[in-house]
C-alpha cells in the first residue's frame, strides 16, 4: 500500500466521520437517550507566505469538529470524535489542496462501580513511560481496586509521521500503580514500540507523588532505556502552598534529559549523541493588591559542551471591575548561545454584554543580529468576539507581524463557533 493510497483512505475515513459529526449536530440532545456535546469551529485565514522562492497569498479554510456523545444507550458508554479538515481556497502547494486528520475517534465504556475504563479506536495515550500524547489506533483498558491499585494496559498501531506505511508497526504498554489514600502514589510502567523489526522505544518508567503535608508535595518520574541501559529522562518537582495571603506557591523542579529522550531509539544519532542536559527550575506565585504574579528562574546545563543556558521570567495578571477587564504582562529573558528578551502585553475587555475586545502583542528582542540582519520580531493581534445567538459566536481578528521571514506581514482571520 503506497503512501498516497493510505492518505486517500484516511481522508475518506475522515470525511465520512466528519459528515457523520456534522449530521449529528442537527440531532437535539434532549430528544435522545444520550447527551451530546458538540463544538464546531469554522476558521478562515488570509495571509501572504513564501513557498519555495515564490510569494503567494494563502487563504486556508479550516473546520474543527469535537463531538462527544455520552451515555449512549447504556450509562457510561461514550462515542468521542475530534478531527479537522483544511482546504486551500486561494492557492495551494504541491497539489496539497486538502488536508485533514482524525485526532480522536473512539468508543469508550467506563463504570465507576466496576472501576473499569475501556477505549477502542483512535486515541492519545498518556500513561507512564509512553511518549507525550502518543497517538495510536488500538485499545486501552484501565481498572482499579478499592484498595488503591490501578492498572492501565494498551496496545495498537502508532501513527508515524516519518513513514507513511504502517505495515508491521505496533506498540504496547502498561502502567501499574498503587495509591496510599491521600498520602502517596507510586507507579511502574513499560512501553515498547516497533517499526517493522526495528525497536523504536523500549522503556521502563517509574512515577509517583507524595504529600509530605497538606501544603507540601513531591511529584516525579523517571524513564529508563532498556536497549541502551541508560537513563532517558527524569524529573522531580517539589511544591509548597504556603498558608499566606500573599504567597500562593513555591516550586522547585530538577531533571535530566538525554538526547535519546527526544530522538528515540530510531535515531542513528543516538550513537553520537552528546546532548544530555540537566535542568533546575525555581518558580513562585504570589498575589499583591489583586495582581497575580508568577516568576521563576531556569538553569540548563549541557553535559558534553559544558555550556549553560539561563531563563528568567515574570508574569503578572490583574482583573478589574469583577472580571470585566483583564490586563496581562509577561517578560522573560533567555541567556544562551543566542540570547533574547521577550515582552508580552495583553488586555481583554467586555465592551458590551455580548462583545469582547482583545489585544495581544509579543516582542522578541535579540542581543545580536540573527538571520538576515534581524534584531527583533513582533506580532500584534486585535480581536473581537461577539455572541450572535446563544451557543453561536463569531470572532474576527487581524494581526501584524515582523521578523525572520518578512519585514512585516498582515494576517486576517474569521471564526464561527458553534457549541452545544
Amino acid at each position: 500500500m503506497n503512501r498516497s493510497f493510505t492518505s486517500m483512505c484516511s481522508r475518506g475515513v475522515f470525511f465520512f466521520l466528519y459528515f457523520f459529526a456534522v449530521l449529528s449536530v442537527g440531532v437535539p440532545a434532549s430528544s435522545s437517550a444520550y447527551s451530546l456535546h458538540t463544538r464546531l469551529r469554522t476558521i478562515v485565514t488570509v495571509y501572504p507566505d513564501v513557498r519555495g522562492n515564490v510569494e503567494a497569498t494563502l487563504a486556508p479554510l479550516y473546520e474543527f469538529a469535537d463531538i462527544e456523545a455520552l451515555d449512549v444507550g447504556v450509562k457510561g458508554l461514550e462515542v468521542v470524535f475530534s478531527g479537522w479538515a483544511k482546504v486551500e481556497t486561494w492557492d495551494w502547494w504541491k497539489e496539497e489542496r486538502w488536508k485533514g486528520s482524525l485526532l480522536y475517534g473512539y468508543v469508550r465504556f467506563r463504570s465507576s462501580d466496576a472501576r473499569l475504563d475501556t477505549k477502542v479506536g483512535r486515541m492519545l495515550i498518556n500513561a507512564g513511560a509512553a511518549p507525550l500524547t502518543l497517538q495510536m489506533d488500538g485499545g486501552y483498558v484501565s481498572f482499579s481496586t478499592k484498595g488503591g491499585t490501578s492498572i492501565n494496559l494498551y496496545t495498537g498501531i502508532p501513527l508515524n509521521d516519518m513513514d507513511g506505511s504502517r505495515k508491521g508497526d505496533w506498540l504496547a504498554g502498561f502502567r501499574a500503580g498503587h495509591r496510599w489514600g491521600t498520602r502517596a502514589e507510586l507507579g511502574v510502567s513499560y512501553f515498547l514500540q516497533k517499526e517493522r523489526e526495528d525497536v523504536n522505544f523500549n522503556r521502563l518508567g517509574f512515577d509517583g507523588w507524595f504529600h509530605i503535608s497538606p501544603s507540601m508535595n513531591i511529584t516525579g518520574y523517571l524513564s529508563y532505556d532498556i536497549t541502551y541501559s541508560r537513563l532517558h529522562d527524569s524529573s522531580v518537582t517539589f511544591s509548597y502552598y504556603p498558608a499566606s495571603r500573599m504567597w500562593k506557591l513555591f516550586a522547585v523542579e530538577a531533571g535530566t534529559k538525554s538526547a535519546m529522550s527526544f530522538l528515540g531509539n530510531q535515531s542513528v544519532l543516538s550513537v553520537f549523541a552528546s546532548g544530555d542536559y540537566a535542568n533546575l527550575k525555581v518558580s513562585g506565585l504570589f498575589e499583591v493588591s489583586g495582581v497575580m504574579v508568577g516568576t521563576g528562574y531556569e538553569f540548563l546545563m549541557y553535559a558534553d559542551s559544558r555550556t549553560a543556558a539561563h531563563r528568567i521570567y515574570i508574569k503578572a495578571k490583574r482583573y478589574f471591575d469583577g472580571e470585566r477587564y483583564l490586563l496581562l504582562l509577561h517578560a522573560s529573558r533567555l541567556r544562551s548561545d543566542t540570547s533574547y528578551t521577550e515582552l508580552r502585553f495583553a488586555a481583554s475587555a467586555l465592551i458590551l454584554t455580548s462583545l469582547q475586545g482583545n489585544v495581544d502583542t509579543v516582542w522578541d528582542v535579540f542581543d545580536e543580529e540573527v538571520r538576515e540582519d534581524m534584531l527583533w520580531s513582533y506580532e500584534s493581534t486585535i480581536s473581537l468576539k461577539y455572541e450572535l445567538v446563544e451557543n453561536v459566536k463569531i470572532t474576527a481578528a487581524v494581526s501584524i507581524a515582523g521578523g525572520v521571514e518578512y519585514t512585516w506581514r498582515i494576517k486576517g482571520m474569521g471564526k464561527l463557533t458553534y457549541e452545544l
Partner: protein
Amino acid sequence: MKERIAVITWLFFLTCVSNVLAATRRQVFIQHKDTIQEARCSTCHDTSVRLEILTHNAVWVDVHKSVAVNRSAECEKCHSRTYCAECHSFKQSLKPSEKNPEDVESTFPHRGNWISRHFVEAKVEPDRCYRCHTQSYCYDCHVDKSYAPGSSSLPRNPHPSAWNHGTEARRNIVKCVSCHERGAATDCIECHRAGGIGGNPHPPGWVEKHPGLDRETDRPCIFCHGR
C-alpha cells in the same frame, strides 16, 4: 437592637464569603460558580486530591503533566475528552493561539511570532520540540521555505560559507538534529555510511570502548554497517 446586630453580622458574613469566593473563582478558572457558591466541591472532585494542586495558576501549564497523566479522571470532571487536543494536536497546522486569538489569558504554546525565535528554543531545549513534533514536521517546512536540501533552490542556507560541520557536530550534535535528523534517512548517513565519501565518523578507540555492539545486527549500527 438584637435584630440590628443580627443584620450587620449577616451582611458582614456575606461580604466575607463573597470576597473569598471571588478570589477563589479567579484561581479556579473553570466557570462553575454555582457549585463553588454552594461549596459542593466534593460532589465532583476526588477529595484525596488537594484542590490547590488542580488550581490553574500561573505555573499550571508547567506542572499539569503529572496530574494529567496520573489523575486524568480529575481533568475530565471539567474538561471535555478532546480538550487536550486544543494544544497537543500538533497535526492541525494552526497554532492554538491563532485558532483562539480572543483567548489572551490561556498559556498557549508558540504565541506571537514564534517562528522568529523557534530556532533558539530548539537549540536550548530540543526535547521540548520532539515531545510533540516529529522531525518531518521541521523538515517539510524547511524544504518549502528553501532552508533545507530538497528545495527547488537553497538560497537561505543558514550555515556560513566556511562551515566546518564536523567540529560543530562533535561539539553538540543536538543542534544538528534540530534540522537534520530523519531517522534512518538522516543526512549524516548520506556520506558517513560504511564506505561512504564522508569517512569514518567514530572517534579513535570507538571499537574498544564498545565491545558489546554487533554492527551487523544492533540498532543503530545497522543503518551504516548492516544489511
